[in-house]
């Protein structure tokens, strides 16, 4: 394992030197000759370098300054400096499917994915290193769950001492949940089962959150050098999937997830509380500009709040297609994308939805506005570009050649 990760780092550092690469290839051949098992964990296997990465499944796209960065299946990370017309593939240390990417600054960024993977780039997305993975996550979760259980036992003792029946009930329930959580965490750790992260958000180069399946939530205060299990700070005892997280005020964060889950924190994520949800289906994304919040998800459900989530108003999209992601454009209108090639255009007040179906009818996962004003969508079919009116731009999209 150690050998491989060192090798991967060398490959990352000297991508252009084919001589060294072929020498390393020979070395790796020698190495494999003596080993029985040739397969290595995808967490430790660099992504295939290919000129088709922009055509395969991509799951998130973001924009930093004039650059677009997208992540997706097989650990691909691609970036474009010309509004999505041509792309290059970043060097990445693993080939696990990535689900989300976020850049709090022009150079510092994080990408998360399946198997609890967290990658970090400090050069605007061109090269990436691994910060965290499912095995570390499992260990952290077991540690967190154990601490939480001890806390619950202490709480129960306290409640019993006080003799208040309601607190005893609550404490017992808390302990029961904490016990299950610990058992699950121990099972996962033992069986090697890992959970995917589904979104990542950073306040700056230091403070950030990564959230995902089964209520998984991790927090860092040192730019990802260490990640702390944060799930016990969330009011999410059913451990529902957390699908999106964003900032809704100076120190306020909001996250959405499975079964109408909406949580809000007003202390930069230290404490979270549930907000009443206008919908019991799942939300897959959240967009916000201060108190102006849009949440959306299953079967075209879209809700709008102008007061930071106290009251919600349903926006009738006239589409039953699940919505996955959205972006606010520079002119303050919004674009949402989702299943079956559906695109929803909203006006500046998030009203008057206009529903379009893209010709390929493939599912889209994310959207960004390019520097030239066009809309770049990623999903099942890779990268697609549409103009402000929702018409597909048929200009061919190219990709720098890989080593394949």
């Amino acid at each position: 394992m150690r050998f491989h990760s060192i090798r991967n780092r060398i490959v990352t550092a000297v991508p252009q030197l084919t001589l060294i690469k072929s020498a390393l290839f020979a070395l790796s051949l020698m190495f494999t000759t003596f080993s029985h098992a040739q397969w290595q964990d995808p967490l430790e296997t660099p992504a295939l370098s290919t000129d088709r990465a922009h055509e395969s499944l991509l799951l998130d796209i973001t924009r930093i300054a004039s650059r677009l960065v997208a992540v997706g299946a097989h650990g691909h990370i691609v970036y474009s400096d010309d509004s999505g017309k041509s792309w290059r593939q970043a060097r990445t240390p693993s080939s696990v499917t990535l689900t989300a990417v976020y850049f709090p600054s022009a150079t510092m960024g994080w990408a998360v994915g399946h198997d609890g993977l967290i990658l970090h780039s400090s050069d605007a997305g061109e090269t990436w290193v691994k910060q965290f993975d499912g095995y570390l996550a499992n260990r952290a979760i077991v540690k967190g769950a154990r601490a939480n259980k001890e806390l619950a036992i202490a709480d129960l003792d306290k409640a019993k001492n006080s003799g208040d029946l309601t607190s005893i009930d609550n404490a017992e329930m808390h302990l029961e949940n904490a016990t299950y959580a610990l058992e699950d965490a121990q099972y996962d750790k033992k069986s090697g089962s890992t959970k995917p992260f589904l979104d990542v958000w950073f306040y700056d180069a230091k403070i950030g959150y990564a959230v995902g399946a089964y209520g998984m939530a991790f927090h860092t205060r040192d730019g990802g050098k260490s990640w702390i299990d944060w799930s016990s700070h969330l009011e999410n005892s059913d451990r529902l999937h957390i699908n999106g997280l964003t900032m809704v005020g100076p120190r306020s964060l909001m996250l959405v997830g499975e079964q109408g889950l909406i949580l809000r924190s007003d202390d930069m994520g230290a404490n979270w509380r549930a907000l009443p949800s206008p919908y019991e289906g799942s939300y897959f994304g959240i967009m916000a500009k201060a108190d102006n919040v849009l949440v959306f998800g299953l079967r075209g459900n879209l809700y709008h709040s102008v007061d930071g989530g106290i009251q919600w108003e349903k926006v009738y999209t006239n589409s039953e297609q699940t919505l996955m992601a959205g972006v606010a454009k520079t002119d303050k209108t919004s674009v949402l994308v989702g299943n079956g090639g559906s695109v929803i255009l909203l006006n500046r007040r998030s009203e008057d939805p206009k529903s379009i179906i893209l010709p390929g009818r493939t599912t889209s996962a994310s959207v960004a506005q390019a520097p030239d004003g066009s809309i770049v969508i990623v999903g099942e079919a890779g990268v697609e570009r549409i103009d402000v009116n929702g018409a597909v731009i048929n200009e061919s999209i190219t990709m720098a050649e890989g080593d394949f």
């Binding site: 051949l29 088709r52 999903g379």
Partner: protein
């Protein structure tokens, strides 16, 4: 003409011998001494083989067409029964010619066709799929979980609302590109077939089934509004077997043309009928003998009777021609036959031996049909040796040639036709350089052109059938309107029992699929990993971010629970990866194979084969004991039509040169053993080599690849082509020994043997030329190439051979050798 001619008066003897100098005259004495006995034996044999003929069967098994000893095929055969189902599907597409499928009329027609198909014998009714079958459903994720139903709702009544509902359901069903065309103008009825006929308990008769579909669906429903298309391997096989029927007609046509030519040539009814009957007897013997030996007829060996017939005719003609000439000189029936036999026995035997041995070099190609073709053709040639070299002269010794025939031969003998006179000028130092220079130029151009010769089938669709055949047109419609490819390359991923759904194996497959999708020529890939990702996504409310493999074994197990049986085997020790290719050009296949091999180096576990047969407990024990670090996995090449074709191409590519070398070694050895002169062998073989080069150039030019069908052509072309040279050279030598100058000798040769050779060349060319009209593409390809080779070999023997002889042959040497061996006795022939 006197009947008292005594045996001892015959003062000629064969110039050359094949076994010993004494054996041939001895054979002649025996055969002609016991004429009635020999004929009686031949008659009995004919009856026996005619009985054998009734036992002959047409074989439609696929195994004979593939190289069973190739590694890919061995790997495939291990899993043959588990992978078999994919091959026995017929797909019928029903197109609405005006507008889309969402009309009341179209749906009503589709329903009627669906019902018709349902009751066709051999259809696996429970697995049949169309918009009208209840197993085609739509699903949708809602707040409550999955929702779904049949695509055509129970409330369907053809109204606009229900058609709108249908349209929504089709979109939700994920069938667009599969059962419904991408442009919504047609839908497919997918018809899986049962293996065994439910009535007879025998293998299902594809021909009958295809006939039912043609009659009950295509003929009954095609109109100006509805078009019907049908594809699938069983349909293709049925079309091929139907194509065989036309071969019978070609055979009759070939007999008729030959008879006309033969009469024009001999002007003698007897001289026409006897070679034809003798050749037909050879065909009966050949087919009968093979049937008695237990061989069956296939799409290749069905062509052998043509060759046997044509070769038989060409040798029969030589004999008849010889008898006519000898009769013209005044010999009686018996004497003329004996003299003709004596003169032609050696070159005839030599020519037939080189044919037969040339065919046997095809045994180097380890593909059943080719090996059986080799055996069938060699057996046929052996039969010709008896029927035409023995039977024809014996029968002629009784019936004799007609007076008109003798006169015709005499006239020929005396006549000095301008054509032959002109050609004979080639054998002079002045003219000879021209054909040689032309030959060299042609050879250079030929070598250049043949650089672009490709291995494999180059046409799209089913290469066995013509590009404009009904089947290939239908196939092209399917490929362009649905998201499918007809070129399937299948890689079998093997592991231990119950381990195909372990994370390591699934992840290896996942990587393999993405790796292959990056290989040029690969369209897409499908495996149980595709299903697993889809289901995992579905279980998580259709969220695209979940379309990845889980490391949780329970989730993995659930995700493949409902995977189609074709994507993993019963005990979960093998999962195929289906790789769809753009085409089946050799380059595409080679790329795919090379890519898989490269991937294997990196991902195959080099562990003992026994681990692949172990069960879970065994593997766990082996891992615990440190013998293994993980579940073993290996990627086995290859199956699917493209995989089999890749194997075939490899076998053919490897055998191509070996076979060519062997066939030339055989003809060289035989010619040299007989004529004992390198100069003679050069005169005979150089024109042959030129034809071989030009044939390859022609293949490159016409876009015909080196494949199962065209490889035998090289052996057949050389083996049969050498006959011309042998006959011409043999006669030329006799004339030279008689003291004539080269040009005179060649003129005499042309008048007799040359005429027979050009006749033979044309007869053979007509025989194989009829194949060009075969609906089966590879038979047509063989026809084109063999016709070309026979005509060019003939021209080579008539034009290039004398030109070469002018510079290469040393008449004085030949005469000196003759004097030394035979003294004053003039050579036979």
């Amino acid at each position: 003409m006197s009947n008292t001619t005594n045996l001892k008066n015959i003062k000629t003897e064969p110039e050359h011998y094949i076994i010993t100098p004494e054996s041939e005259p001895f054979l002649e004495r025996v055969l002609f001494a016991a004429r009635p006995l020999v004929l009686a034996v031949l008659a009995i044999l004919t009856v026996v083989f005619a009985y054998g003929l009734t036992q002959i069967r047409l074989d439609s098994s696929i195994e004979k067409y593939i190289p069973l000893k190739h590694e890919f095929i061995k790997n495939y055969l291990v899993h043959k029964d588990e992978l078999g189902s994919g091959l026995s599907n017929i797909k019928i597409s029903i197109e609405s010619k005006d507008g889309d499928i969402f009309t009341k009329d179209y749906m009503a027609t589709l329903q009627r066709i669906n019902d018709e198909v349902f009751f066709i014998k051999g259809v696996d009714r429970s697995a049949m799929k169309s918009l009208w079958t209840p197993n085609v459903r739509w699903t949708e994720v809602t707040e409550e979980g999955f929702q779904g139903g049949p695509v055509i709702p129970a409330t369907y009544d053809g109204s606009k609302e229900s058609l709108d509902q249908l349209r929504q359901n089709v979109l939700k069903s994920g069938q667009v590109g599969r059962l419904v065309a991408n442009n919504f103008s047609s839908t497919i009825i997918d018809i899986p077939l049962v293996e065994v006929d439910p009535d007879t308990g025998e293998k299902l008769d594809y021909k009958e089934l295809s006939q039912s579909i043609e009659e009950k669906v295509r003929d009954a429903f095609t109109s100006d509004k509805i078009a019907v298309y049908a594809t699938g391997t069983p349909k293709k096989l049925a079309d091929l077997l139907n194509g065989v029927a036309s071969i019978g007609l070609f055979f009759i046509a070939a007999i008729c043309f030959t008879a006309i030519l033969l009469y024009l040539y001999s002007r003698c009814i007897r001289g026409t009928l006897i070679p034809i009957i003798a050749s037909l007897i050879a065909v009966v013997w050949q087919l009968g003998a093979l049937a008695l030996m237990g061989f069956t007829i296939d799409l290749y060996s069905v062509l052998v009777p043509f060759l046997v017939f044509a070769i038989g005719i060409s040798h029969g003609v030589q004999i008849i021609s010889g008898i006519a000439i000898e009769s013209g000189k005044g010999s009686n029936k018996l004497m003329a036959s004996r003299l003709a036999f004596r003169g032609l026995y050696v070159p005839g035997m030599l020519a037939l031996l080189s044919d037969g041995l040339g065919f046997l070099t095809l045994l180097f190609i380890e593909i059943g049909v080719i090996q059986e073709l080799a055996i069938a053709a060699s057996v046929g040639v052996a039969m010709i040796i008896v029927t035409n070299l023995v039977l024809v002269p014996l029968v002629m010794s009784y019936v004799g040639i007609s007076q008109s025939g003798i006169r015709h031969a005499e006239n020929n003998e005396k006549a000095e036709p301008k054509l032959w006179k002109g050609i004979s000028k080639i054998a002079s130092k002045k003219i000879a350089p021209f054909p040689i220079i032309i030959a060299i130029v042609l050879a250079v151009l030929g070598v250049y052109q043949s650089q672009s010769l490709k291995i494999g089938d180059l046409d799209a669709g089913a290469p066995e059938l013509r590009p404009d055949s009904r089947y290939n047109l239908d196939n092209a419609y399917m490929v362009s309107n649905y998201s499918t490819s007809s070129d399937v390359f299948l890689v079998m991923v093997e592991t231990a029992k119950e381990q195909c759904n372990s994370y390591k194996v699934m992840d290896s497959i996942d990587r393999f699929m993405w790796y292959m999708e990056n290989v040029p020529g690969v369209q897409s890939t499908i495996s149980m990993v595709t299903v697993s990702k889809l289901v995992t996504k579905g279980m998580n409310e259709g969220n695209l971010k979940w379309s990845a493999l889980s490391r949780n074994q329970t989730i993995l197990n659930t995700s493949i629970q409902r995977a189609p049986a074709s994507l993993l085997n019963q005990d979960c020790s093998m999962a195929p990866v289906i790789v769809y290719l753009n085409d089946h050009k050799a380059e595409t296949l080679e790329n795919a194979v090379a890519a898989v091999k490269k991937f294997k180096v990196k991902y195959d576990d080099e562990v003992d084969a026994k681990y692949f047969a172990m069960d879970t407990a065994g593997i766990e024990a082996a891992i615990a004991a440190g013998e293994l670090t993980d579940v073993p996995v290996r990627f086995q090449l290859a199956s699917g039509n493209a995989g089999i074709e890749a194997a075939t191409n490899e076998v053919i590519g490897a055998a191509q040169n070996t076979m060519l070398i062997f066939v030339y070694v055989v003809v060289f050895a035989l010619c040299f053993a007989t004529f004992r002169s390198f100069r003679a062998v050069a005169c005979i073989l150089l024109p042959l080599a030129l034809t071989s080069i030009l044939c390859q150039a022609l293949m490159a030019y016409l876009g015909i690849g080196v494949k199962v069908a065209t490889l035998p052509v090289i052996a057949l072309g050389v083996g049969i082509g050498v006959d011309y040279g042998i006959y011409i050279y043999n006669r030329l030598e006799v004339m030279l020994i008689a003291g004539k100058s080269l040009q005179e000798a060649f003129f005499e040769t042309l008048k007799s043997t040359g005429k027979a050779v050009s006749f033979t060349g044309i007869t053979l060319a007509i025989g194989v030329g009829t194949w060009i009209f075969s609906p089966i593409k590879f038979q047509a390809d063989m026809g084109i190439l063999l016709t070309f080779m026979f005509v060019w070999n003939m021209l080579g023997a008539l034009v290039l051979l004398p030109a070469l002889a002018t510079f290469i042959l040393k008449p004085e040497q030949i005469i000196a050798r003759h004097k030394k061996l035979h003294g004053d006795i003039s050579p036979a022939g």
